[in-house]
């Protein structure tokens, strides 16, 4: 277990980059330092539907962070009704990172703790969330997504969010 103070020292430079990114894109992004939690509002333009993207960063960077969509109170996570539904993905992107796994919404990327089998996700093949950077090496070698700072993660998450319409359920 890494003390919160140590994690903050590691993550806060990344948060500054992420907040600058969010500002450029007009996205509301709130960092709750004491909880090591990032809250991001993503809005589907077609019907102005708001989605609540939450990142939790305890033990970051020893472990991958935990990314999911929640309800509007930022507490209930992973329900399909809170997840955006992917549409056809145009090249050069090959597939969305948002998926329905066993009836639960999962953001399927090496930078998400919940994508690993130990986090009830689909990936046993990536090892554990402590191996997320090595898993990223493998996936990026296969032309699959890579993001290893908070800002880069948000960029990828929004990239695929823009290719969604409505909710999964």
């Amino acid at each position: 277990m890494i003390p919160t103070g140590e994690t903050r020292v590691v993550i806060e430079p990344e948060i500054r980059g992420a907040q600058a990114w969010a500002e450029r894109r007009g996205i509301v992004c709130t960092w709750i330092a004491e909880a090591l939690e990032l809250r991001v509002l993503l809005v589907q333009s077609a019907e102005s539907t708001t989605f609540y993207l939450r990142g939790r960063f305890d033990n970051y960077r020893a472990l991958a962070p935990e990314w999911t969509f929640t309800d509007c109170t930022w507490t209930i996570a992973g329900k399909l009704s809170e997840f955006p539904k992917p549409i056809t993905v145009p090249p050069p992107v090959t597939a969305s990172i948002f998926l329905n796994f066993n009836g639960k919404g999962v953001i399927c990327a090496p930078f998400n703790r919940l994508a690993y089998a130990s986090g009830s996700g689909p990936h046993q093949d990536w090892g554990g969330p402590e191996q997320w950077l090595q898993a990223s090496d493998k996936t990026s070698a296969n032309k699959q997504v890579r993001a290893d700072t908070v800002g880069d993660m948000l960029q990828v998450l929004r990239r695929d969010f823009l290719l969604t319409r409505g909710r999964v359920a």
Binding site: E14, R16, G17, A18, Q19, A20, W21, R24, S45, K85, P86, V89, P91, P92, V93, T94, A95, S96, I97, F98, L99, N100, F101, C108, A109, A115, P122, H123, S136, D137, T139, S140, A141, K143, Q144, V145, R146, A147, T149, V150, G151, D152, L154, Q155, V156, R159, D160, L162
Partner: protein
């Protein structure tokens, strides 16, 4: 003698650099030194468009042939401002128009400290457009002074919706 080179773009100076040059050294030597000092233009392209007091500098001529110490080069590259999600500050690049988008993205990714991944570039439009990594910058309609953002173009891991 000290010579100032001003790199212009649409009649605006976007970079300048000073070099020391001996009276007997040639215009080509000056161009080589300018290129080394600037780090983003080649001596040949500087030589193709190098002016002093409105007069084009000629190859092989020696520096003392020209009175002016303020030389000008109108660059023909695309000056692009690139943002990266990990960095609050952008970086500026002078890319050739025929550079492939993927190569430009790799260049930018390296400058921002990305060691791996599938770098690409996207526009600041809403929604942003991810540029085709196989096109040239010109074919992708990138224009001078355009702002772009680095994005990883890698795909998702699998997609059970299909």
């Amino acid at each position: 003698m000290t010579i100032l080179l001003e790199v212009e773009e649409q009649n605006e100076v976007v970079r300048s650099v000073e070099i020391e040059l001996g009276d007997d050294e040639t215009v080509e030597v000056a161009a080589t030194r300018f290129a080394a000092a600037l780090g983003f233009l080649e001596a040949e392209e500087i030589l193709e468009n190098l002016l002093v007091d409105g007069e084009k500098l000629e190859r092989h001529k020696k520096a003392h042939h020209y009175d002016g110490r303020r030389w000008r080069h109108q660059h023909s590259r695309l000056r692009v401002i690139v943002f990266a999600p990990r960095d609050p500050k952008p970086k500026e690049f002078f890319w050739r128009r025929n550079l492939i988008v993927g190569a430009a993205a790799s260049d930018a990714a390296k400058a921002f400290g990305y060691a791996a991944g599938n770098p690409g570039l996207q526009t600041f439009a809403d929604p942003p457009k991810v540029l085709d990594n196989n096109q040239t910058l010109e074919a992708a309609h990138v224009h001078c002074r355009e702002k772009l953002e680095l994005v990883d173009t890698g795909g998702g891991v699998f997609d059970p919706y299909r």
